[in-house]
Symmetry: C2
Subunit: 302 residues, 2 copies
């Protein structure tokens, strides 16, 4: 059942990690899931900035040199396997091995783990279909806990998303919408959400929970810089959703999916959504200064 992905641990090709690692014990770390193509990491600069924010929140110190060395080893190993081929790279950074007890000693050495999965045709074809025809979503019963310390970042504590995704079993929906216990709309299980209403675009504020997606950032930048639309981060709920003219989801791997159905509510693959989809493609084809190779060239300058 399981594809055999390529894994690199602390710069070496290796498929396992110590059971004493605090990443396993407590989910004490962060991760990024990134698009790899032609030997480079797309939007690395943005992934790096979110990861750095997450590491700072967890008080994990990761030397830049160690990160670059690990990613260079990762990209070399990927090149040996798929050449210029595309795929998904998951990078996990944990606090490293630790003794018993929640409190970090402060002397841990962070662990870096890369897992690369080549892009499958099935995934690519399904994604193209969802981008063009839209997807159905359902509202999850599982809610997102409020936690300002972890809001916005992407840690290894992901059980709320696991349990929410579990609810999709047997449903026709491709994604599930997540709310707080108080009914605030926050995101989808692996995507951010945008609502369009009267030429304004709205997306939930993520100061209490939720993940600040990389594609969410791209969409917000595009709307601000390339369109006459306005984008607002505000508090949204189910009523806002029902009243929206268009709804779409964003993710750095699958880009934008128009939402065409949620329960009894229907929406078109709207014009504004399609326009932003097109802008995202344009943005990505000119984003070489956000790539890993560019980052590396800037980092290594004397």
């Amino acid at each position: 059942m399981i594809q055999s992905p390529l894994s690199i641990v602390n710069s070496r090709i290796q498929s396992n990690l110590s059971v004493l690692d605090r990443g396993l014990a407590y989910g004490d770390g962060v991760f990024e899931t990134m698009h790899v193509n032609r030997g480079d990491i797309t939007l690395w600069q943005y992934h790096y900035e979110r990861m750095a924010k997450g590491l700072a929140r967890l008080h994990i110190a990761l030397p830049l040199e160690k990160l670059c060395e690990h990613l260079q080893a990762t990209m070399t190993a990927i090149g040996d396997v798929v050449g210029d081929g595309a795929g998904t790279l998951k990078l996990m950074v944990t606090r490293g091995e630790g003794q018993r007890g929640y409190a970090p000693s402060g002397h841990e050495e962070p662990s870096l783990v890369s897992v690369f999965t080549p892009l499958s045709d099935i995934f690519a074809q399904a994604n193209k279909r969802y981008q063009e025809n839209g997807v159905e979503v359902h509202c999850c019963t599982e809610y997102l806990p409020i936690n300002e310390s972890l809001a916005g970042i992407k840690t290894l504590n992901q059980l709320p998303y696991v349990l929410a995704s579990y609810e999709r079993q047997g449903l026709s929906a491709q994604e599930g919408l997540l709310f707080t216990q108080d009914g605030l709309l926050i995101e989808a299980t692996a995507r951010n959400i945008f609502l369009v209403k009267n030429n304004e675009v709205f997306t939930p504020r993520l100061n209490q929970c939720g993940v600040e997606g990389i594609m969410r950032r791209v969409v917000m930048e595009i709307i601000t810089q390339e369109t006459t639309l306005t984008i607002k981060e505000i508090a949204l709920n189910k009523k806002s959703l029902v009243m929206a003219d268009e709804v779409f989801l964003s993710n750095s791997l699958s880009q934008l999916w128009p939402v065409t159905r949620c329960e009894n509510q229907l929406w078109p693959c709207g014009e504004i959504t399609q326009k932003i989809q097109q802008s995202v493609r344009g943005f990505l084809s000119h984003a070489s200064t956000l790539s890993f190779s560019y980052f590396l060239s800037m980092t290594q300058q004397p």
Copy 2:
């Protein structure tokens, strides 16, 4: 710095786990930390019941036979290293290896990981001192997120406890008290809390967050069955704490610690606390029907 503990993975002596394990990726699993002595696991029946509750909440199916086989292998390996010596056994059960994505496929094979650390004299001596003289606690700034799906159980998503424990750096306190964002007192970072007031004992309700500790259960049973005191699970806050006559913390490894100080508030190592400490020792010396060996003998009966 790091002691070299003994580790067993899926019934075999092994110190690492696949990086594809969902325990690492999402904290998708549960754990128990247990006292081992004379080749047996103390209070196993209670640990098992909490673990089973946690696995059910996460929809992880673990065959009893697989669990028993792994624990038998664990106890054999421990016996080879420390004989009848005491120590701490951490048992982690994860959903197992998975493909990309939060949603479980339903075909995962759970991973079982044991980590045994022999009891150190330093730990035992410090613990005796804390049991006799009490400890100082502080109030954590980090709050516990509300999540009814995970309340009471002990999952691998422990970042709130890690961040709360981090606050203790540089303080004289031995433990930190955890509250909800709304100011409800819930527990300490690795212990449950009890307040004594006018011959009544109170402990926070844990229906929204917190861990239902094994020693908490023992204390509640002892109070109900062996004393004329009453025990009540209710909503408590900082005011309840300040007004308490006695305060103590419970943990299955360190048993009961009287709290003698929290910020400017002082308490004695009170009589009721001492009486319950004594009852706990009595309970533990007669708890052989709650041990792993007893569990195993009952499980394996025809």
